[in-house]
Each structure stands twice: as structure tokens, then as C-alpha cells.
């Protein structure tokens, strides 16, 4: 259309060369950076993942029953404040609460908040508390705490466990379950999709028939049936791994199909023929030549399938067939919230839900952004 420009400057030339010589990964990153919502999602995701990993340090108490506060059960969130009628303080504080039962309270347990000057609990940073393990080392410093008693930013549940600590531990659990699940789904998909796509023919037909059949069975009911096999005697860790494996089975059919479609188109390319003529074995060709040709697409698919894993785990645990108590996850935390008592009186049980919606949304945004970035035609399609 326009007239051809005069010789480009050296800088322009270099930029253009950089574009043509850029690797697939650099190109994807270039396009991904332009997508604002995906970039924000990525930051949120990084923050959440890090806070999940470092949750024992960031949260003041042990999220299991060992960290319960006997003095503050079903307690509402305590928000640190600077001022009250007794004057202000530079260091934020919360009030002391006391649980008591006497003839005055009609012999029922009543929690009383004391607002006197001497009942203030001051917020402190880097306090020593319960021991925890991080990267194989034992620490006991927590980011924040109070000088006496305990602080519960998100309140406590019916046994006095700190909901703030449990929320972050739950993020960690969800990420771990999701990662193992995605990993298993990935391997299954590579093997099944790879074999089916590479060999084609009747092997392909049989495998596709199987995959389609498994895709028609509603996943959650089927996995409920599988999860019901877990004996009650299993430890929390065993349960955790079994559930992760079950979740791995959710993702593979979709992924396997993608791998197969790619392989079916790629295996007729000339570079495959060249490798075959050189005497390369089938597995060598699949691993070294075919898979690298669409690694980026596989990564995108993995990111997209991640939220499904997390949500399925939540659903399974919520029903009572997934993870169980000493392990924290959103589903475990939500197990008892459907009672009218909780709905009417203890709404802070729902605070973790917000974190999970944000977590899943972040994953969806990043996944969508990556998919658009990895698709070389995404610009022209719009």
C-alpha cells in the first residue's frame, strides 16, 4: 500500500531482526505483556502462590487443631485499631476476650470483650510462636502476633482454629493438589494422546473410543465413587495423594485429545520422515521432535485445566469424600457452613471463599492470556 521506506536505521533493523529471530517463548512473552488483565492476573497469582508457600510464616498460628484458641471459639474477626475512648496508641491493638460460665450467664459459655486500657493486646511483628517447617528447616518466627493472648484477623471456627491461618494453609493445599493432579493428567495425556496420535489407525480408533466414553461419564459422580474406596484408616497424607491422583484423572481426556490432534497433523511433516529415515526410534521421534513442536500449547492447556482441579477438589472435600480435617482446604473449611446457625451468626466462615474466587479468577485470566499469546493467529482474528 504505502511506498517502501528508505533504508531503515540500524536500531530499526536490529529490532526487526530481533522479532524474526525471537524464540517461540520470547514471542509469547511479548504478546502476553500486552494483555493487561492477564498481567494483573499473573501478579495476583504470584502473590497468592508465594503467600501459600510461606503461609506458616505469614500466619500467626498452626492451622490444625494444635493451634486452637480455647478462649475464643466461633469468635468474630478482630480488626486492629489505633484509637478508642481511652485514647490513641501508635501501635495498633485489639481487645482481650474472656470466656466464662457462671450463675450470671445462666451457666452458658459467654464470650466477653474487655475494652479497658489494661486489656489492650498490642500488635507485634516477628514474634516467636509455634514451630513450623519450611524447606526442611524448622522455624518459630511468625510475621505478626500480639503480646499476650492471640489475634484472629478473620475470626475463629467452632473449635477455635484461626480462620486466617487456615485460609493461607488451604491455598497451599489447593496449589499442591492442583499441581500433582495436573502433573498426573499431563503424563497420562502425553502417553495416551501420544500413542494414539503417532500410530493412528485402529489403535487411534480404540483409544479415542475409550477417551470419549470416559468423557461421557459425569466426572464428579465417578470420582465420588472412586474416593469412596479410601479406607477410613488412611492417614491424612495418604488421602491427600490419593485425591490428587483421582483429580489427575479428571484432566487427561481433554488434554490427550489435544495432544493427539497435534500429533496427527505433525507426524506427516517432512522432518519426521527425515528422522525416521535416519533410523530414529518411535519414542525418540515423539520425545525429541514432535513434543517440542507444541510444548507451549501444552503448557497453556495445563494452566487452563488448573482451576478445574482446584474446584473439583473443593467440591469433593465439601461433600466429605475428599480431604479431611488435619489437612486444610477450602472444601474442608466449608463443610459445616450450610447449617442455619452458621448462616445467621458466623458469616466470617465465608471469608476464605473470597480468596478462592480471586485465586481461580487469576488462573482463568492468566490461562486466557497465555492461550491468546500462544496462538499466532490471535491478532489477525480480532
Amino acid at each position: 500500500m504505502s511506498k517502501r521506506k528508505a533504508a531503515p536505521t540500524a536500531a530499526e533493523q536490529k529490532a526487526r531482526e530481533a522479532y524474526f529471530t525471537a524464540s517461540q517463548r520470547q514471542l509469547i512473552w511479548q504478546r502476553f505483556k500486552k494483555n493487561k488483565s492477564a498481567l494483573i492476573g499473573a501478579w495476583v497469582l504470584i502473590v497468592l502462590i508465594l503467600s501459600g508457600i510461606f503461609s506458616p510464616f505469614l500466619t500467626p498460628y498452626d492451622p490444625t487443631i494444635a493451634g486452637r484458641d480455647k478462649e475464643y471459639m466461633n469468635g468474630p474477626p478482630e480488626i486492629p485499631r489505633f484509637c478508642d475512648e481511652n485514647g490513641c496508641s501508635l501501635r495498633p491493638f485489639i481487645y482481650t476476650t474472656v470466656r466464662e460460665r457462671s450463675i450470671q450467664t445462666n451457666f452458658r459459655w459467654v464470650t466477653e470483650v474487655k475494652t479497658g486500657l489494661e486489656d489492650r493486646r498490642y500488635l507485634q511483628f516477628f514474634v516467636e510462636g509455634s514451630e513450623y517447617k519450611l524447606f526442611g528447616m524448622t522455624f518459630n518466627t511468625h510475621l505478626f502476633g500480639v503480646d499476650k493472648g492471640q489475634i484472629h484477623l478473620f475470626g475463629t471456627d467452632s473449635t477455635g482454629k484461626d480462620i486466617f491461618s487456615r485460609t493461607f494453609a488451604a491455598i497451599n493445599t489447593s496449589m499442591a493438589v492442583g499441581t500433582i493432579g495436573v502433573f498426573i493428567a499431563f503424563i497420562l495425556a502425553l502417553i495416551i494422546g501420544g500413542v494414539s496420535g503417532y500410530y493412528g489407525g485402529w489403535i487411534d480408533s480404540v483409544l479415542q473410543m475409550l477417551t470419549d466414553t470416559i468423557r461421557t461419564v459425569p466426572a464428579i459422580p465417578l470420582f465420588m465413587a472412586l474416593a469412596a474406596f479410601i479406607p477410613d484408616t488412611w492417614s491424612a497424607e495418604m488421602r491427600f495423594f490419593f485425591i490428587s491422583i483421582i483429580l489427575g484423572f479428571i484432566g487427561w481426556p481433554t488434554l490427550a485429545r489435544r495432544v493427539r490432534t497435534h500429533l496427527l497433523t505433525e507426524r506427516n511433516q517432512e522432518y519426521v520422515l527425515a528422522a525416521q529415515l535416519c533410523g530414529a526410534s518411535s519414542s525418540h521421534i515423539i520425545r525429541r521432535h514432535l513434543l517440542p513442536s507444541f510444548t507451549s500449547y501444552i503448557i497453556v492447556d495445563l494452566v487452563i485445566s488448573f482451576p478445574y482441579m482446584v474446584l473439583s477438589e473443593t467440591a469433593l472435600s465439601f461433600i466429605g469424600l475428599g480431604l479431611k480435617d488435619p489437612v486444610n482446604s477450602l472444601g474442608v473449611m466449608l463443610q459445616n457452613v450450610t447449617s442455619a446457625d452458621v448462616l445467621l451468626n458466623y458469616q466470617w466462615y465465608f471469608i476464605p471463599v473470597i480468596f478462592f474466587i480471586v485465586l481461580v479468577l487469576a488462573f482463568v485470566f492468566v490461562g486466557d492470556g497465555l492461550r491468546d499469546a500462544a496462538d499466532p493467529y490471535s491478532d489477525s482474528r480480532k
Binding site: 466414553t213 461421557t216 459425569p218 465420588m224 474446584l311 467440591a315 461433600i319 450450610t338 442455619a340
Partner: protein, 334 residues
């Protein structure tokens, strides 16, 4: 005509084959549970004070046909299952078909209603989103569809319950009012059922709606820029008439194909939503069977029936598509 008959026959054969495979998976799951029915019956008798020997267990096995080979028992189970008979649950000692009967029909009704609800909203909204250049509308729809994924149905159900309990003092649970719970089906009961059913239908349809809007929008956007639409416009067709007669007809055909997967998605949510809203239908029976009583016979029957409905729907949509689009008929018999 002959071609159409052949197409139908192939599809039917494929559907039956799928069901057979599913039944094998389900049957294996039932068999893998430690302890068979004979042991459970005998264990029950034992609690009643009878003295039991291993010979008694063996005799019971023979009586129940549990000594037959695996494949034979599977075939028998499938044969009965296709006739709607799933045998007895050995924990509840009740006939499963009787136990499930109405409850499964309610579940299926709720799910299909949710499916209809989803598309009744998704088709007009999706078409509008594809046509309109309004940024606000488009961004709003994007947000809704993202929330459809991030806010799974059961969290939505929980949140709706939270609000209705706090602000209206009503928990909106259950499927029937007290006076109708055990009554036979009548018009009054049906009306009462509808009064309760709107919430589960809405919740079950929620994420399906969000997905469907995205699909309709994408399909419509692809179709709307094509030349035949411009040509029709040049001939003077405009407005809704143009949209419905030209791009929408082409864009909406692929949706029929995805109905089966949408039903699958809705079935996935069924048990959890049933648990939250305390619905008395197949979803809650499934949870009872798996989480509480470990009753694999009942669970297997429910899973088989759910999958059966999906396979049936897929079959029906395939036939529908073939009636509408002659290209499909040919493509299947390559």
C-alpha cells in the same frame, strides 16, 4: 432415506457400545468394594443374634449368584439394567429401581430444565453480544462468563443461601413443602414443586449459562462477518430478520452438538447443589450411598443412569443435527 437409516443405525450402535463400556466401568467399581453382598447379608443376620459359619456365607453366595464368573455377572447386570432393573441394594435391602424411581426423574427434570434455562438466556444474550459494539455490555458479559467459572455453582448456592437467610430469614431449601412431601403427584404438588424448583434450576444452570453465552457469542462473531450476510443485507434484509434467517441459523447448529457436554457439566454439580439445598433427589442419594452407607450398588445405578441420559441426549442431538444438515449424514460414514 436409506442413508439416513444407516446413519441412525451406526449412531445407535455406537451409543449402545458406549453404554456397555460405561456399564463395565461402573460394574467393576461396584465389584472392587471389599466385602460382597453375601457377607453383608450375613453380617446383618449376625447382628440379629444368629450364629454364622463360613458355609453359610458360601451358601448365600450361591443363592445370590455371586459364585458365577465375573463376566457372566456383568452381562446379567447389564441385561437387567437396560430393562430398568438394578437389583437390590444389599445395605438398604430394597429394590433400587423402586428407591430411585421418582427421585431420578426429578433430578433429570431439574437438569434438563437448567439446560433449557441456560440456552434460553444464552442464545439471545450471546447474539446480542456478538452484534453490539457496546463496550460496557461486552465487558459485563465477559465478567459474567469469568464468574461462571470462578464462582462454581455450589459457592453460588451457598452465597444465595447466606443472603436469603440473613435478609429474608428463609433458607430456600428443599423441593417440597411439608404437606406435599409424601403425597402422591397431583397438580397442587406440582405447583408447589415449581415454587421450590426455580432456585436449584437457576443454580444448576448458572455456569452452563456463562459457558453457553461465550460459545454463542464466538460462533456468531465468526459467522456475522461472512459475505452471504453482507449479500443479504444488500438485498434489503435487515434487523432481527437478517440475524435470525442468515447468520444465526448457521451459528447455532454446532451448539446442538455441545448439549451433551453441557448436561454432563450440570450433572457434575448435581450432588453438591443437592447437598447444600437439601434436595431429596438422586444427587443426594448418591452422596448418601457413597459418603455414608458405602452402598456401591445404589451409586453404580445412579452413575449408570446419569451417563445413560447423556448418551441418549447425544444420540438425539446427532439425529437432530443430521435431519437439519445433510452434510452431517454423509460425513459420518466415510
Amino acid at each position: 432415506m436409506l442413508q439416513f437409516a444407516r446413519f441412525t443405525a451406526t449412531r445407535a450402535a455406537l451409543a449402545v457400545l458406549t453404554l456397555l463400556l460405561v456399564s463395565f466401568i461402573v460394574f467393576s467399581l461396584m465389584e472392587l468394594v471389599p466385602g460382597d453382598c453375601a457377607e453383608r447379608y450375613i453380617a446383618f443376620k449376625n447382628t440379629q443374634g444368629a450364629v454364622i459359619t463360613t458355609a453359610d456365607i458360601e451358601a448365600e453366595r450361591v443363592r445370590l449368584g455371586l459364585d458365577r464368573p465375573y463376566v457372566e455377572r456383568w452381562m446379567k447386570w447389564v441385561w437387567n439394567a437396560f430393562q430398568g432393573d438394578f437389583g437390590d441394594s444389599c445395605i438398604l435391602r430394597l429394590n433400587i429401581s423402586q428407591l430411585l424411581g421418582d427421585k431420578f426423574k426429578i433430578s433429570l427434570g431439574l437438569s434438563l430444565a437448567a439446560l433449557v434455562f441456560a440456552y434460553m438466556i444464552a442464545i439471545p444474550v450471546g447474539i446480542y453480544a456478538a452484534v453490539s459494539k457496546n463496550r460496557v455490555v461486552n465487558n459485563l458479559l465477559r465478567l459474567v462468563s469469568y464468574l461462571g467459572l470462578a464462582l462454581p455453582n455450589f459457592l453460588l448456592a451457598l452465597i444465595i443461601m447466606l443472603f436469603s437467610t440473613v435478609y429474608f430469614g428463609e433458607s430456600l431449601t428443599g423441593l417440597f413443602s411439608k404437606e406435599f412431601r409424601d403425597a402422591a403427584w397431583s397438580w397442587a404438588k406440582f405447583v408447589d414443586f415449581l415454587k421450590h424448583a426455580w432456585l436449584p434450576i437457576f443454580i444448576l444452570g448458572w455456569s452452563a449459562t456463562a459457558f453457553a453465552i461465550q460459545t454463542v457469542r464466538a460462533l456468531m462473531s465468526d459467522e456475522i462477518g461472512k459475505l452471504y450476510v453482507t449479500a443479504a443485507e444488500a438485498r434489503g434484509v435487515s434487523g432481527r430478520r437478517l440475524l435470525m434467517r442468515y447468520p444465526a441459523r448457521h451459528a447455532l447448529a454446532p451448539i446442538i452438538n455441545s448439549l451433551g457436554f453441557d448436561l454432563n457439566r450440570i450433572f457434575n454439580e448435581l450432588p453438591v447443589v443437592a447437598l447444600i439445598l437439601t434436595l431429596t433427589e438422586a444427587g443426594s442419594l448418591l452422596i448418601d450411598a457413597l459418603a455414608k452407607s458405602n452402598d456401591q450398588q445404589l451409586a453404580g445405578a445412579i452413575i449408570f443412569l446419569l451417563t445413560g441420559s447423556i448418551v441418549t441426549l447425544n444420540f438425539v442431538t446427532d439425529i437432530l443435527l443430521a435431519i437439519m444438515d445433510p452434510r452431517v449424514r454423509k460425513s459420518i460414514l466415510r
